[in-house]
């Protein structure tokens, strides 16, 4: 599904990604861990197509197609979803209206008619129940005045609505209390299938107790310095990141 080869990327003059290699297959869950400033969020933004970053070397293939020249909205239409670490506020635009626009824009890109209102309502009801979201919440302005937990839950709700092939969750666990974390993780688990894949970007092992990854990768200084299974996450929890920083690159 996703194949990243020797990816180098920089923002302005600063090189942040220095040769990332990663392959994600349908049905897999990958966790990407690493200390602050190691390039985790940059990797997520580059996959989603954020303009601030310039790819200097290497490629990203999504379902066999190079993404370099593909606009962010087109990547979304292809089924790439990014749950933002810091979701933005859009005053006056309700969650429902935003989702309606997003879904219909995607349908339009695929040559389909707008989703009928009744179907849209049914979908909203279904997905909000899945994530234990109060319907009143959906008429509020997008992220405006939302608590940290509400923002993250809203991201997962959008993911549920858009049913992406590849979901990248950028620090979705940060700022969540244990109950919210459980709800979010539960939602992600329910949405998992053999056809879609998830990349979890996280600092801590905590989230991985709820969403069990197939693979764990550690990023340091713009490179994946170690890959393993979920046991690696436990090891990191115990030892921290320092021992990896000293190890030679694998």
């Amino acid at each position: 599904m996703l194949k990243i080869k020797d990816l180098h990327a920089r923002v302005e003059d600063k090189e942040i990604l220095k040769g990332i290699n990663l392959e994600v297959k349908p049905g897999e869950v990958h966790a990407i861990m690493g200390p602050n400033g190691s390039g985790k969020s940059t990797l997520a933004s580059v996959i989603a197509g954020k303009e601030d970053f310039e790819i200097t070397k290497g490629t990203i293939l999504f379902e066999g197609e190079e993404l370099d020249e593909v606009a962010p909205e087109e990547r979304a239409h292809k089924g790439i979803f990014l749950s933002f670490q810091y979701p933005v506020e859009i005053p006056g635009v309700s969650v429902t209206n935003f989702m309606k626009t997003a879904i219909n824009e995607s349908r339009k890109a695929h040559g389909k008619e707008d989703m009928p209102a009744s179907k849209m309502l049914k979908l909203i009801r279904e997905k909000s129940e899945l994530l234990d979201i109060d319907r009143k919440f959906l008429s509020r302005s997008l992220n405006e005045g939302f608590s940290g937990g509400e923002k993250k839950r809203n991201e997962i709700f959008q993911m549920a609505m858009l049913e992406p092939k590849l979901a990248i969750l950028d620090e979705t666990d940060s700022g969540l209390d244990i109950d919210a974390l459980r709800i979010v993780a539960n939602g992600v688990n329910k949405l998992k299938s053999k056809d879609n894949a998830v990349i979890l970007i996280t600092h801590y092992q905590r989230l991985l107790e709820y969403i069990i990854p197939d693979f764990v990768h550690v990023i340091h200084d713009g490179k994946i310095v170690k890959s393993g299974t979920k046991e690696l996450a436990l090891e990191l929890e115990e030892k921290g990141y320092d021992w990896l920083k000293k190890e030679p690159v694998v």
Binding site: G49, E51, A71, P72, V88, A102, S106
Partner: protein
């Protein structure tokens, strides 16, 4: 990839004014210039009674003594008032019974504007009085209105048919000497609309007028007078578009609203005059005086969506004369390219327990300048007056400006005045967030702008709100940097 500053600039350049075309209808036009003879000739041409001619002459005398105001935050080449023709009317003057009799070219113009008369007629309960240049060429739904005793006609017709009403109220809210442009308008107003709602009558439909400037070099001086008698209600819609022009066109209208005891007037405007081209050349100068007077328990609401004109200078205001009267002002002003807008409102609290609300949303893009200027004045006798003002500005790109000039004069200690203001910028983060959800940049801007303007859009009548939303999108296409 999404967008770059360069691409956006290019896109903006290729965007031509949607309604920029010129209708070739033979007209009867005065030679350029302004003096007493022109005023008299104009009045004669319109077959006005003597009192009207004298009223105009008095206004002209006042105007001659006045100088153009310079306090607004706008910069422009002052119009040469001797280089304007003060009368232009479509030649085929008689009123038509049906659409078939209307000049086909005119109908075509409306079709291109997307406001075919057919459609308009069918639209539930909308009576349309179309002002093409200066003379009304079609009036519909008159009969239904007449049954209720409602008068809805051109001001010229009202001067002839209902002189007692016109004589009593014209200039009563906006006096001849009020300001430079009001004085000019009083002397040379060509036509406009007149509306009278009798006591206790609720006007059963939205009254609507489409204004359009059409003749090369003719300034338009519209005069609108709306009178809501005791306990009556009316909702009046005004919408405008104009063809593309190289030279500047002056528009100095006067709108007077009178809401007698317990009456309510809702006045909504969607304004889309030619804003000038991408270099800031051409475009309409819109210097308008709009003011309403509220008697006891009366209410006046101004709602406006302003996207056009090179220069807008406009402050729809309310004189809250009667006790318990209410004034409201809801406004969205959009400026792009080199447009300049200095707009806002005046709420003058004279009566006791008077209330006013001001919600102003300014959106600036390109190299435009957008100013809000508002006055809240509480007179010494106005006990328990209350005002709430909210002014929000949205900036797009780094070359535009937003300014807020709120003036507050409170002479009564019981007054409660609140003012809130915010300034925000459409951020790349917001755009990217939308992009990531599959929404392209154009659509994202429309979404954000509509969200920003929602409180005001909600105040517009349904069919107008849709049109306004479309206008916002057109006006701001490709303008984020």
């Amino acid at each position: 990839m999404a967008y770059t500053e360069e691409e956006l600039k290019k896109e903006l350049e290729t965007k031509e004014y949607e309604y920029g075309f010129y209708t070739d209808i033979e007209s009867d036009t005065f030679p350029k210039g302004l003096n007493e003879e022109v005023v008299i000739a104009l009045s004669k041409k319109k077959e006005e009674p003597e009192w009207m001619t004298l009223w105009r002459l008095e206004a002209f005398k006042i105007w001659k003594e006045m100088t153009e105001p310079e306090w607004a935050n706008i910069h422009y080449q002052k119009p040469d008032f001797q280089d304007i023709s003060y009368y232009s009317a479509p030649n085929k003057k008689p009123k038509y019974e049906s659409l078939d009799e209307v000049d086909p070219e005119l109908l075509d113009t409306f079709k291109r504007l997307g406001i075919s008369l057919d459609e308009q007629k069918k639209l539930a309960g909308v009576a349309v009085d179309i002002v093409m240049d200066s003379v009304s060429v079609a009036t519909t739904f008159k009969k239904t209105l007449a049954e209720k005793g409602i008068i809805f006609c051109s001001i010229s017709e009202a001067i002839k048919e209902h002189p007692e009403l016109v004589k009593k109220y014209i200039g009563s809210v906006v006096p001849k000497k009020d300001n430079f442009y009001a004085a000019l308008n009083s002397a040379v107003f060509s036509d406009g609309s007149f509306c009278y709602i009798p006591k206790g009558v609720r006007c059963p439909m939205e009254l609507s007028t489409y204004f359009r400037i059409n003749q090369a070099g003719t300034g338009q001086f519209e005069r609108t007078l709306v009178i809501a008698d005791k306990g009556s209600y009316v909702s009046y819609l005004e919408g405008c578009t104009a063809p593309s022009r190289d030279e500047n066109q002056l528009h100095a209208a006067v709108v007077e609203l009178i809401a007698l005891d317990d009456a309510e007037i809702k006045y909504s405007t969607v304004q889309n005059w030619f804003p000038g081209n991408k270099e800031g050349k051409g475009g309409v100068y819109n210097f308008v005086t709009k003011r309403g007077l509220c008697e006891r328990n009366a209410k006046i609401s101004w709602t406006q969506v302003e996207t056009g004109s090179a220069i807008t200078w406009k402050y729809p205001s309310c004189i809250l004369k009667g006790d318990n009267s209410i004034g409201e002002f809801y406004s969205i002003a959009v400026t792009n390219n080199f447009q300049q807008a200095d707009t806002g409102t005046k709420m003058v609290h004279l009566g006791k327990n008077t209330k006013s609300t001001i919600i102003s949303k300014g959106i600036s893009a390109g190299k435009s300048q957008n100013s809000y200027r508002g006055l809240v004045q509480v007179n010494s006798r106005a006990d328990n007056a209350r005002n709430f003002s909210q002014c929000d500005s949205l900036l797009m790109g780094n070359e535009c400006g937003a300014h807020t000039f709120p003036y507050i004069e409170a002479k009564n200690k019981s007054a409660q005045i609140e003012h809130e203001a915010t300034t925000s910028k459409i951020g790349e983060d917001q755009i990217f967030y939308c992009n990531q959800r599959g929404i392209d940049t154009e659509k994202a801007i429309a979404l954000i702008v509509n969200g920003f303007s929602k409180e005001v859009l909600n105040k517009l009548p349904m069919e107008f709100a849709v049109e306004a939303q479309k206008l916002l999108e057109i006006s701001l296409e490709g303008s984020v940097g």
